[in-house]
């Protein structure tokens, strides 16, 4: 292809868009809206995943020690076990203080300070992919361990919930992604439909398939890109407002910051917009090239 021809294609594509103004506008708006949905989903799902990641960090196992246990060497051995992220020693005095304070009952607090019945313990933070039963068994087999406690039901449920949310979230993004993509392709297909006669005429005048395809493909790309840019702007402005709203009302809700989201958002939206703008054109045009 000559450079001149390439410029011709680009000019063709932009005048094509301009002269089908109302139709191009309709198409760009539809694509923008579809990409806004995709982007919003992406933001919701990344936030939920971020949130559940954080929730995982809260999971822990408590190991109560016998009076004579060697806490330091136990901690080291525990750290070497699979699934253990962090260990923390809590002396019985610390435990008593915490308990008295947390329950907020003065009588209990006084009693615990005077004559502490609690044991020392080691708190273990878990990795995400922990095998709970196995780890518990290994911990119990260590010397100097009185009891391993981990609110079995709660921890196991929590891990499952996290996994289920992840699966649902990813499936949703994939499904919504496919849906949005199809909407984009269909929208472009409808614009090509409206101009199928033109394609026929071009072929009859001796244009090769590629000579016709290029401008249409560039039009598709421009439509997709236009939609992507608009969608990115609108979503990031929207997310900006959301963050401000949440920060004022409920600052403890840990939303991802804008710059953590915008990068991925931009690429997702742009690539989907661009790629499927082009693919939509190519697919739609095919049928009408057979003249």
């Amino acid at each position: 292809m000559k450079i001149k021809t390439f410029w011709y294609f680009t000019k063709e594509a932009s005048t094509g868009l301009a002269r089908n103004g109302l139709m191009s506008l309709t198409a760009v708006i539809t694509i923008t809206l579809a990409l806004i949905i995709l982007g919003s989903f992406y933001i919701v799902v990344t936030n939920v995943n971020h949130f559940t990641e954080m929730a995982k960090g809260v999971l822990e196992i408590r190991v109560y020690l016998k009076e004579d246990a060697d806490a330091v060497s136990l901690q080291n051995r525990m750290l070497s076990f699979d699934g253990v992220k962090e260990v923390k020693f809590v002396s019985k005095t610390e435990a008593a203080n915490w308990l008295g304070k947390t329950l907020g009952i003065k009588e209990l607090h006084n009693y615990l300070a005077a004559d502490n019945p609690l044991p020392d313990m080691i708190n273990i933070r878990l990795e995400d992919n922990v095998e709970l039963k196995e780890l518990t068994a290994r911990l119990e087999s260590l010397p100097g361990i009185d009891e391993v406690e981990y609110g079995k039901d709660f921890v196991e449920s929590m891990l499952l919930v996290i996994q289920v949310i992840w699966v649902i979230g990813v499936s949703l993004v994939v499904i919504v992604g496919l849906v949005v993509l199809y909407i984009i392709v269909n929208t472009i297909r409808l614009t090509v439909f409206a101009r199928r006669k033109e394609i026929e005429i071009m072929k009859l005048v001796g244009a090769t398939d590629w000579f016709i395809r290029w401008p249409f493909m560039l039009e598709g790309i421009m439509l997709g890109m236009g939609g992507a840019i608009l969608a990115t702007i609108i979503i990031s402005k929207g997310y900006h407002l959301l963050i401000a709203y949440v920060k004022e009302l409920a600052p403890f809700i840990p939303l991802l910051s804008e710059h953590m989201v915008n990068g991925g958002l931009f690429w997702l939206v742009s690539l989907v917009g661009l790629a499927f703008g082009a693919i939509g054109s190519l697919m739609s045009i095919k049928k009408f090239l057979k003249v």
């Binding site: 002269r19 071009m202 072929k203 009859l204 005048v205 001796g206 244009a207 090769t208």
Partner: protein, 234 residues
Amino acid sequence: MIGVIWVIQFQGVSKIYSNGVAALHDINIHIEKGEFAFLVGPSGAGKSTFMKLIIRKELPTSGQVLVGHKNLAKMKAGEVSLLRRNIGFIFQDFKLLPHKTVFENVSFALEVIEASKKDINRQVPAVLELVGLKDKANIFPSELSGGEQQRVSLARAIVNRPHLLLADEPTGNLDPETSWGLMDLLLEINKRGTTVIMSTHNKNIVDKLRRRVIALDSGRMIRDEQKGGYGFEN
């Protein structure tokens, strides 16, 4: 394509459209390079179909259409485009691109052969002048009168100096004076070596020019006469 001898041959060609209408029946014909032939016949006789077979818009149901000794049915997509670039076609329904200006509609025939900008800017205004539409270069086909659209179609057909010119009813929307102007143009082009096939209902023109006349009726060739008249008198 350059160097190809633009002979057109129909060998036992029949065309039955998918809805069952038989448009042509067993046509055998030979048109030499440089000829000028009129195609006449009543409405629905198969004239447009005859021409559509030559640019391979339609394929024959049986028989063969050969252009430059090549069987069109066996051509690949690229060859078909190449063929069409060397054929100027004035369509009965004009087939102008609605979203291109008059200038762009004509220049499109040059763009497809990747002509230089210089060539385009020289040839297009020249040919628009020739068909009397220089003032209308920058408006869209929907803003033209019927005859003006027909002349744009003519301009597009001749702008790239085709080897073969197919004109389907090119004077249908033109007044007699303009029609004769157009005929002078076609004769001139023919004189320079381009084969011209023109379907027409214009008795006056056919009778006056006395060229080869191929007459169709209900899909059958009923006459092929050198220096013929319009015929069909009753």
